[in-house]
């Protein structure tokens, strides 16, 4: 199905994702996956059944030198309000 024809402004992409599981990239190396219940013009979001993934990068001393070790922490939340200014990217489920 061709969704591109239904999209006139970027927020249409979010509107079409209501009640769907979305991927959200946040500032501070955090990612969320949850069901989108509501949003507003700030990109404040209400998500349910959320899994948060936090990337903890331990930069080995000397920037660029050596492989930084990346640790991943996950946690789950039933219901979450996301303040819009932390949002970098929202991706709807691929159709």
């Amino acid at each position: 199905m061709d969704t591109s024809s239904a999209i006139q402004e970027p927020f249409d992409l979010i509107r079409l994702s209501l009640s769907e599981r979305v991927f959200v990239k946040l500032r501070g190396d955090r990612e969320l996956s949850g069901i989108l219940h509501a949003y507003d013009g700030h990109m404040n979001l209400i998500l349910s059944d959320v899994e948060e993934t936090i990337l903890i990068v331990d930069q080995a001393d000397g920037a660029g030198e050596g492989q930084p070790t990346v640790n991943m922490a996950k946690r789950k939340m039933d219901m979450l309000f996301v303040r819009g200014d932390g949002v970098i990217l929202v991706s709807p489920p691929s159709r």
Partner: protein, 98 residues
């Protein structure tokens, strides 16, 4: 060995003609022209998103299709569609002729 070729004409003082491939007009004209084309969106964090620009709004919120996320030149993620919040955008670069 090119002694037979004539010397180049004297330098003109008038500015060189603008190549026709260089787009002219306002930033808004550029953005209008680039909708539907392949673009590179760089965020202030240095992450690049390459994809087809579906649309954008006055906040520079962006909807991209067939998006690839590049970090340090390496593809780190792919999204069918992606909404990018405008405050994170550093620049939008046309990746094909507009």
């Amino acid at each position: 060995m090119d002694e037979s070729t004539p010397p180049p004409p004297p330098a003109e003082l008038s500015p060189p003609p603008v190549p026709s491939t260089v787009p002219s007009g306002s930033p808004t004209d550029f953005l209008k022209g680039v909708v539907g084309k392949r673009v590179v969106v760089r965020l202030t964090s240095g992450v690049d998103y390459r994809g087809v620009l579906s649309c954008l709004d006055g906040y520079m919120n962006i909807a991209l299709e067939q998006t690839e996320e590049h970090v340090n030149g390496v593809v780190t993620n792919r999204y069918g569609d992606a909404f990018i919040r405008g405050n994170n955008v550093l620049y939008i670069s046309a990746a094909e002729a507009i």
